[in-house]
């Protein structure tokens, strides 16, 4: 580029024609210079080039590519609307340039999920589930049935940052994990980053799951919904003022609780009085003030409520829990090269457990609330650089486990309500730039400060007898502990040719919140605690290397990635911990600390065009933990150490109306801690000795096949309806959910039997969806 060459900018938004929804991640490609860019998460793009004539291609998976000739003699603002392929058009499609983003981009360890495509895959009990879908990707393991937690590259479930319109979702599960809180009808876009995290993300070691809600159709009013085995859904969206503002409201509720009431369940039945339901509501509003300013307001509210009433006594319990989030965002263009988004975010997770009999009442509660403000800038000075910078501040209020109880007028002393308060600050800058045509580098720095502040009481224990013997009190606003760290991020791509590339990345992350899990399975009772004077921040490093190659004009995308990770300051409850130990005590006084290490390789082959779509993912992995106070200080494999993990996902369009799909998964069994020997006391009790060996037994492997068939309505009808038929666990595999030991006593002989519980046999389901 000579100095005399004038530079101009092409910028604008890419949208979906039918609904006006922004298209984040759409590709913009300049044919003459073989360079391109992608839209950001608000659909904005900007590319700066020397004065010349160009052919610009706008493309996005599932949409017709739009070709625009541009005579670049001044800055050009060009908003593009793309049509879906389903819509009949006479336009000629240039298909020579297919998506090769995976080769071109510097990013590795990232996958986007097309929510619409998910709808033709088999769905458990008919509920399309984003969290279940990402568990089909290599490097992501399911925690098992009845568990929404997922493990990314050997990291714990708390090391995944789950964002819904930028708001942190702390518990993404409904019904103890059988369903996720994300209603697929309200979701536009899902991106999972499991490695090579750029500096604009942080706060978690393992992954970021970024979920964006739909903005709402700004062209016409539309209603869609569905009836399934488990829940019913309804979504209404439309313009408030066409092309300028729109809204979407989406709601979902289960109705199984109705079957526990008359006439289905008579009052005399043992089941009467049991009830469970969940519901959630997503809502979003947006307003376009001008090409430069846009406002979005969105929110989520969901609750699970379980209740139980004993028929034999007046003992009863009620357990409500759920998340609430609210986000206000303002997009502003300072110039056609500088984009800003500023957000105000509120998020809350709350768990309660109330119960009692006669005059005795008790209540257990825990939760977390965040108040968050953040600003993110995208600066595109020229075609070679994409600079992101910004900062955020979060005020956290943690309520780890607390309890209250009373009998009549007598209130039990179960301790003060313990809360933890913290300030959480992050600033970052990241530049992604082309060094040469072959080499692209993304380098960034993220600076984080985390401060635990008062009011806070630290209970101190007598080292000899373990009893609490002193308390350190901090007043409101007092600094309890401050941590400050710099996290470098680096990713490099080397383009071998236009079909293959090599990528490498190095990341460091600090995580200032921790999830303490008591049971062997994730439960809503798991409590979030911040880094404190006692709990040091989690620290992770990850090295990853990948080879990416596309075949047959990008019809097939393949990749191999290897990774090596270390994790410091991991927490577990100490051996022998009981929930009541947290009464009148800090929960973190019951923790022990250790480190982790994981490494593995991921193989991926994907076909995302044509009649036949799908992917195969295979992961070979190891993950270990070392805690001085557990397992005699010896290294042990983590519970979810999975040597092999395979997913096969396929869909086939038989005709314009019928689509069939299938998924098959295989995973090495989880590890469990089983007793090693028995001993008998003089009171006749037979006791188990665990010998201190953690995770000494591997459960049988998990595998399962699901199939589905989707019948779409006739095209171009005003009222569009479709049916989805799914069969879960087709060959009725009894996968182990848990193995326990049952002691029985007969003819003066004690026998112990290992019993395996499996949750789901073959389950067919049908869902009816409509749209008008």
């Amino acid at each position: 580029m000579s100095q005399t060459t004038k530079m101009f900018t092409i910028s604008g938004y890419v949208k979906e024609k039918a609904t006006g929804e922004s298209l984040p991640g759409a590709a913009i490609f300049i044919k003459e210079v073989s360079k391109g860019t992608t839209t950001n998460s608000y659909g904005f793009y900007s590319i700066t080039l020397p004065e010349a004539n160009y052919t610009v291609l706008y493309s996005f998976i599932g949409f017709l590519t739009d070709v625009q000739p541009i005579n670049l003699q001044k800055d050009v603002r060009l908003n593009i609307s793309l049509s879906t392929k389903a819509v009949e058009t006479k336009e000629v499609v240039i298909s020579a340039e297919r998506e090769d983003k995976n080769i071109e981009s510097v990013q590795m360890g990232r996958e986007s999920i097309d929510v619409e495509k998910l709808k033709s895959l088999p769905a458990f009990m008919g509920e399309v589930d984003i969290l279940k879908a990402i568990q089909l990707l290599p490097g992501v393991s399911s925690a098992g049935e009845g568990n929404s937690g997922f493990y990314v590259r050997g990291g714990g479930p708390d090391q995944n940052l789950i964002l819904l319109d930028e708001a942190n979702v702390y518990n993404a599960a409904h019904l103890f994990g059988f369903f996720s809180v994300f209603n697929a009808d309200a979701i536009q876009n899902v991106t999972l980053t499991k490695g090579g995290m750029p500096a604009n993300y942080g706060g978690r070691l393992a992954s970021v799951l970024d979920i964006q809600m739909k903005e709402g159709n700004n062209q016409k009013l539309s209603v869609e919904g569905g009836l399934g085995v488990v829940s019913s859904r309804l979504t209404v969206q439309g313009p408030i003022k066409k092309d300028t503002s729109s809204f979407i409201v989406s709601a979902r509720r289960t109705f199984i609780d109705l079957f526990f009431k008359p006439p289905f369940t008579p009052k005399s039945s043992d089941l009467y009085g049991n009830s469970y339901y969940f519901y959630d509501i997503n809502a979003k509003l947006n307003y376009t003030f001008s090409d430069k300013d846009r406002l979005f307001i969105s929110g989520y509210f969901g609750r699970d409520v379980f209740s139980f009433q004993s028929t034999n006594s007046d003992f009863g319990i009620r357990v409500p829990w759920g998340n609430a989030t609210a986000t206000a965002r303002w997009n502003h263009l300072f110039s056609d090269k500088l984009f800003m988004n500023t957000s105000l975010i509120f998020t809350n997770y709350d768990f309660q457990f109330e119960g009692g009999a006669e005059t005795f009442r008790f209540k257990l509660f825990s939760g977390i609330t965040d108040y968050n403000v953040k600003s993110d800038f995208t600066w595109l000075p020229n075609v070679r650089h994409n600079v992101k910078f910004g900062g955020q501040y979060i005020y956290h209020v943690f309520v780890p486990s607390n309890a209250s109880a009373q009998s009549g007028d007598v209130v039990f002393d179960l301790g003060e309500v313990i809360r933890n308060y913290a300030n959480d600050v992050a600033v970052y800058i990241n530049d992604e730039f082309d060094l040469t045509d072959k080499w692209r580098i993304s380098g960034g720095l993220r600076g984080t400060v985390f401060q635990q502040v008062g009011p806070f009481d630290r209970y101190l224990h007598d080292p000899l007898n373990g009893a609490i013997n002193d308390t350190v009190h901090y007043d409101k606003g007092d600094n309890v502990k401050t941590y400050a760290h710099i996290e470098p991020r680096l990713a490099i791509r080397y383009a071998i040719n236009n079909r293959s590339s090599l990528k490498a990345s190095y990341t460091q992350n600090y995580q200032y919140i921790h999830l303490a899990s008591l049971s062997s399975i994730s439960l809503p009772t798991d409590v979030w605690v911040p880094s404190t004077d006692l709990v040091k921040p989690q620290f992770g490093t990850q090295y990853a290397l990948g080879y990416f190659r596309n075949f047959k004009s990008n019809t097939y995308e393949t990749s191999v990635e290897v990774y090596y990770k270390t994790m410091e300051n991991q927490v577990e409850y100490q051996d022998g911990f009981l929930p009541e130990n947290t009464v009148n005590d800090n929960v973190d006084n019951n923790f022990v600390f250790g480190s982790g290490r994981s490494y593995g390789a991921e193989f991926f082959i994907k076909k995302s065009s044509g009649k036949f779509n799908g992917w195969i993912g295979y992961t070979l992995a190891w993950t270990e933990r070392t805690f001085p106070d557990l397992n005699n200080g010896e290294t042990f494999y983590a519970k979810f150490d999975r040597r092999h993990d395979i997913s096969i996902v396929a869909t086939y369009n038989i005709s314009t109306r019928w689509t069939i799909g299938a998924t098959w998964v295989y995973a090495t069994g989880n590890l469990n801690t089983f007793p090693e020997r028995l001993y008998v006391l003089s009171n006749g009790h037979v006791l188990e000795d665990y010998g201190g060996q953690r995770n000494n037994y591997r459960l049988p492997a998990y595998h399962r096949l699901d199939v589905s068939a989707t019948l779409n309505g006739r095209p171009n009808k005003k009222f569009d309806s479709s049916w989805n038929f799914s069969i879960f666990n087709v060959y009725n595999r009894y996968n182990p959910f848990i193995i326990y030991f049952d002691t029985s006593y007969q003819d003066n002989t004690v026998t112990i039997a290992a019993r395996q519980i499996s949750l789901f046999p073959i389950i067919p389901s049908v869902t009816w969806n409509f749209k008008f």
Partner: protein, 300 residues
Amino acid sequence: MKKKLSRSIYWPTVLVSFLALLSACEKTVTVKLPEVEQLLVVEGYVETGERPYVILSRSLDYFGTLNLNTVTQNTVQGALVTINDGFVTDTLIQVPGFGVYFSNRLTGIPGRTYQLTIQAEGKILSSSTYLSAPIPLDSVWWKVDGRRDSLGFAWAHLTDPDTLGNCYRWFAKRINQYTYGKNIGEQKDSIFIAPLGSVFEDRFINGQSFDFNVVRGKTYNSNKEDDLKEENFFFKRGDTIVVKFCSIDRSCFDFWRGEETQVSNNGNPFGSVSPIYGNIKGGLGVWCAYSTSFDTIYAQ
């Protein structure tokens, strides 16, 4: 009351009741556990005014046959067991044929620490326990439960000392005879029985003066009528109940708390791993001092 609280808030029971509504399926499977060596198991007590004794046995294979025969076969004979109370070292005498060893020279005296050493089968085991001053109950009584006419729990009033870290264990024994049923004429209990929930500490109640109630315990796998039917857990009007209330040290509390947790978790698929922490160096089990005080309740 404490017992009711801590056990009722046990979350997994909720999950179990919910899963029962789902189509969960269950089957017996074969589990191959790693091979492990046998360990020696100690169960020893020193009680105020009583002679200390120790029961010595070996641990058993997890899936092995377990009956009176195998238990008897695994008691340990010919061990060298000594106790030192700070003044005297005594070598315990074995009851022939059983793995029971008792002291002829020592008795439990509050304020003393009892050091236990065992040599057996090529292993050396050791432990120590402190016999503290007794903390007696202020009063004990029996009260009819709710709408029942002749059944109720034992009640007591305790004033916990100001110092944190006191631990307690409760035993009871009915010394009256059955006047009905198939065991007529027999003394209702032959030994002191600790119910589940018999151990507690002063974490929630430090320095307080309060009432608490206790259910009636039963011997392991008892099939006596009053342990199976409506009298289960209750004392009955007319019972004469001797209460043995013990102050225990922390390591002894930890063992019995772990023991009770494990016993009550048995068969609960969602029970977390509940290891028991004994205080025997080189083996399993417990060496426990009971600082006793006795009371009698006439259930009227």
